[in-house]
């Protein structure tokens, strides 16, 4: 029976260590904030930088929405700035088609690879996972630091690419070849180098997370006692570890195509601008798509699984009862992780890869929806019969459920080849995946920020402005994305810099199936919805900074009355995290357990700590 209670090496030895742990030494700025190996500081670095990138991604989106609603009209307020910074592509303060393509490609890249993934996986994972499993830090603190530096450098390369001649990458965030190689800008090479750095960063992060979760769980923290958030991060880390490298391989090959003149993805007989391209040919454009989507689809689950983990923690905490179907959640997550590797080609029905292959991928796509629905159902059922605490984190978590539901269910017609042929590359698909990621994942991330802010700073975020932030975001998210379903169903294609004007009934007379005026008008609603959505983030930004110093201070280390180990630490957790080594004695969600006083039982209850020789 020795195996269940392990000897845990002491990580606080002597007075010298204790001093260091409480941060009494004032470290210089560089070692404290730039070259820190503390998982919490790295988590905050990731969090701050990725939030900045998300704000920038939002800005790019606003510029694009203006251009879609008012093609060729100079952008108000920001037009002169764009012209000054970017020059000719923004001549007269208006967005040219090339610049629109750049913004589109970079909006996607930044939101996915520099915004949501670093925030959901790296920031929350870094800060919370070691706390939740009772570890003093990550397994490899210096590799953790290197991971952040690679990420930062990758982001920098992406940003710099806006200012090179020709501008940033223009071939969409998917960078399909041969388009990505034939557009005359070096932005694509920058994009590829940036991606290789980001992939390196996520590789280092993923190795670290998995090793930490396997090796550094506190005594008594068995696999089935892990909070669901940790499970979600564990599976996410495996997805990043195994799905990203094929894209890295593809990235190397496209870089060779762009820089060394190879023809990995360039077919024989490729003509550019009416002339035969000076390449050897023989390559395969489909190969790029396969390798890209081999990452691309697991990436969707990288975006959504940590969000589900956060929502699960917040819901369990605010329903004050055990989460419904903990084991179903865990096994569903594992099944999603496995299946996500064999659904990628449902992004490629339009390529003509063949009916048989399409049938296989349709089947796997339908199967993977089952565990996703199980997870969502468990979360919904957890609400049943609870006396719910409606605080800001809980509102965002509750907002996540129907929004992700809409996003998920509207994905089904895209998973079936017959309907996808029509809907492919229309605004319908934009609406679909934004419902999953924007009001879905990003709401969950907001929930996480409002939820863990008191642990990080010792103060709560302002509740009133939190609610304003939630309701405005909730309403305007829907104003932005709901009309896109209609636009897409009516046949409006994505990636058009004039918002489909050239297919509108107003411009093309006597043609069947043009875009009616009512559909074109939606572009204007969406624009103002997007502007309002942007403004709705201002209370959040102010709240975030103001509350660090002036928020309502928490009375205890565990202001939400939570059970998991992250709340059993001092506030904020010192270097090394725990005052005494935690001994875990029960599962993660023991709220209002029958036969016990108090509304919750922490995972490590010092009163019930077993002696090492108890077994």
């Amino acid at each position: 029976m020795q195996a269940t209670v392990q000897e845990f090496p002491p990580y606080r030895e002597g007075e010298a260590h204790a001093h260091e742990a409480h941060g009494h030494h004032e470290q210089p700025f560089f070692t404290k904030y730039i070259f820190s190996t503390d998982h919490k500081v790295i988590g905050l670095q990731y969090g701050f930088v990725s939030l900045c990138f998300m704000l920038f991604g939002l800005f790019l989106m606003l510029m694009m929405r203006w251009q879609i609603a008012h093609p060729g009209v100079p952008v108000p307020l920001f037009g002169p700035l764009l012209e000054k910074v970017l020059g000719q592509p923004a001549a007269g303060g208006a967005i040219s088609a090339d610049l629109y393509n750049s913004f589109g490609a970079m909006h996607g890249t930044i939101m996915v690879f520099l915004g949501v993934v670093p925030l959901a996986f790296a920031a929350f994972g870094n800060y919370v996972v070691p706390l939740m499993i009772g570890a003093p830090d990550m397994a490899f603190p210096r590799i953790n630091m290197a991971s952040f530096h690679a990420f930062f450098l990758g982001g920098l390369v992406m940003l710099v690419s806006f200012f090179i001649p020709g501008g940033a990458a223009q071939a969409g965030w998917t960078s399909y070849s041969p388009l990505a190689t034939t557009i005359p800008t070096d932005g694509q090479a920058f994009w590829l180098v940036g991606m290789v750095l980001l992939i390196t960063s996520s590789l280092l992060g993923a190795v670290n997370f998995i090793a930490t979760i396997i090796q550094l769980r506190a005594p008594g923290m068995t696999w089935m006692r892990l909070p669901f958030f940790v499970w979600a991060q564990f599976v996410t880390a495996f997805l990043l570890l195994l799905a990203f490298p094929p894209l890295e391989a593809a990235g190397f090959m496209q870089l060779m195509d762009n820089v060394a003149g190879t023809s990995f993805f360039l077919p024989t007989g490729l003509a550019i601008g009416g002339h035969m391209a000076n390449v050897s040919g023989g390559g395969s454009p489909l190969l790029w798509q396969h390798l890209f989507w081999f990452l691309g689809h697991p990436e969707v689950y990288v975006l959504i699984l940590p969000a589900m983990g956060i929502v699960c923690e917040v819901i369990a905490n605010n329903t004050r009862k055990p989460i419904w179907g903990y084991k179903s959640l865990v096994y569903s997550t594992l099944v999603i992780g496995l299946l996500s590797f064999i659904v990628w080609a449902h992004h490629m029905y339009m390529t003509g890869m063949g009916q048989k292959i399409a049938t296989f991928f349709q089947a796997t796509t339908m199967i993977i929806s089952i565990p996703s629905v199980i997870i969502l159902t468990c979360l919904f059922l957890s609400l049943w019969g609870a006396s719910i605490r409606f605080n800001t984190p809980m509102m965002f978590a509750l907002g996540f459920l129907p929004m992700f539901g809409i996003g998920g269910l509207t994905g089904l017609p895209l998973g079936l080849a017959a309907t996808d042929l029509y809907l492919h590359d229309t605004y319908y698909i934009i609406a679909h995946f934004h419902y999953v990621v924007a009001p879905g994942t990003i709401f969950a991330l907001f929930a996480g920020i409002y939820f863990w802010f008191p642990k990080i700073t010792g103060r709560k975020l302002n509740e009133f402005w939190g609610r304003v932030h939630f309701w405005c975001s909730f309403i305007f998210m829907n104003v932005v994305f709901l009309p896109m379903f209609t636009q897409g169903a009516k046949g409006m294609l994505r990636r058009m810099s004039n918002g489909g004007a050239n297919y509108s009934a107003a411009q093309v007379h006597n043609a069947i199936d043009t875009l009616p005026g009512s559909v074109m008008e939606m572009n204007t609603w969406i624009l103002w919805g997007a502007v309002a959505l942007g403004l709705a983030q201002i209370p959040f930004i102010i709240n975030l900074f103001w509350s660090i110093k002036h928020g309502e201070p928490v009375e205890s280390d565990n202001p939400w009355g939570a059970t998991t180990l992250d709340w059993q630490t001092p506030t904020p957790p010192p270097h090394g995290n725990f005052a005494t080594e935690p001994h875990v004695v029960r599962g993660p969600y023991e709220y209002n357990a029958p036969g016990h006083e108090g509304s919750f039982l922490p995972q490590s209850d010092p009163a019930v700590t077993p002696t090492p020789h108890a077994h």
């Binding site: 990580y11 396997i214 894209l247 050897s280």
Partner: protein
């Protein structure tokens, strides 16, 4: 603050942290090279019949390099054993052998690259193709050592063509339509050849840096924390074996088929 299980193994997993880390890293590496190998398959399958090159690489060099890496795998293992039994001089000796073998591998590889770099295919105005190694190139004439072919197809499969002529061919620049060396841009075979072996060579170089560090300045840890040092040697050895294994696949795929 110390991280648990950096040196000792965790009882229920039976592993120390770095060993978990390196296996995860190798899993990721497998997917990286897996992506490139599947690209190789797709490109080769998609080539029109008879146009995939055979026999472009010298099997003797490939076989020699395979032997070098196989030997280095053995010396890496012996270096780790020397750590385990506490024989510092043997450790130094065997890892010095590993380093020499690895650097010899890179030298041979560089020679092979250079051989492809100076190998030119020159399309002439009369429809013939001159194919051979560049001797000199001035504004008046291009001199290569090689042969003329009339059909490009003769250049693809060299396995059956023994004793190719190596005549000195002088060509006036005005007769040349297109002159291109056998670099990555030549066709998809050279592209995947340079990419795969180049990435592999980068891994060899990375391995050399790590093993070189452990052999040189890093070996101070032998005295201060012997167990941890042994773990480092083991972990870097695991990486080295992986890099060798990749070559075991590269050799038949590129040289023998």
């Amino acid at each position: 603050m110390d991280i648990p299980y950096t040196v000792q193994v965790r009882p229920d997993t039976g592993l120390y942290n770095a060993k978990v880390g390196i296996w995860l890293f190798l899993a990721s590496e497998m997917m990286l090279f897996g992506g490139l190998f599947s690209a190789y398959i797709l490109l080769r399958v998609g080539t029109p019949p008879g146009e995939w090159p055979h026999g472009w690489l010298d099997v003797r060099f490939g076989a020699f390099n395979t032997m070098l890496l196989a030997l280095s795998a053995i010396t890496t293992l012996l270096a780790w054993v020397a750590c385990k039994v506490g024989d510092f001089r043997k450790f130094k000796f065997f890892h010095a052998c590993t380093l020499i073998l690895a650097l010899s591998f890179l030298c041979v590889k560089m020679y092979e690259y250079h051989d492809k770099w100076i190998h030119y295919e020159i399309e002439l105005k009369d429809g013939r193709i001159a194919d051979g190694h560049l001797v000199s190139r001035t504004s008046d004439e291009v001199v290569i050592e090689g042969r003329y072919v009339t059909d490009k197809k003769d250049l693809y499969d060299l396995r059956a063509q023994k004793n190719l002529p190596h005549d000195e061919i002088r060509i006036a620049p005005s007769d040349i339509v297109k002159m291109q060396n056998y670099g990555p841009w030549h066709n998809t075979f050279t592209a995947i050849y340079f990419t795969l072996t180049g990435l592999h060579a980068l891994h060899i170089l990375g391995g050399c840096c790590v093993i070189g560090y452990l052999w040189g300045p890093g070996s101070k840890m032998w005295k201060t924390d012997h167990e941890r040092f042994t773990n480092r040697v083991e972990v870097s050895g695991l990486f080295w074996h992986f890099v060798d294994l990749v070559w075991i696949f590269l050799f038949p795929v590129l040289y023998l088929t």
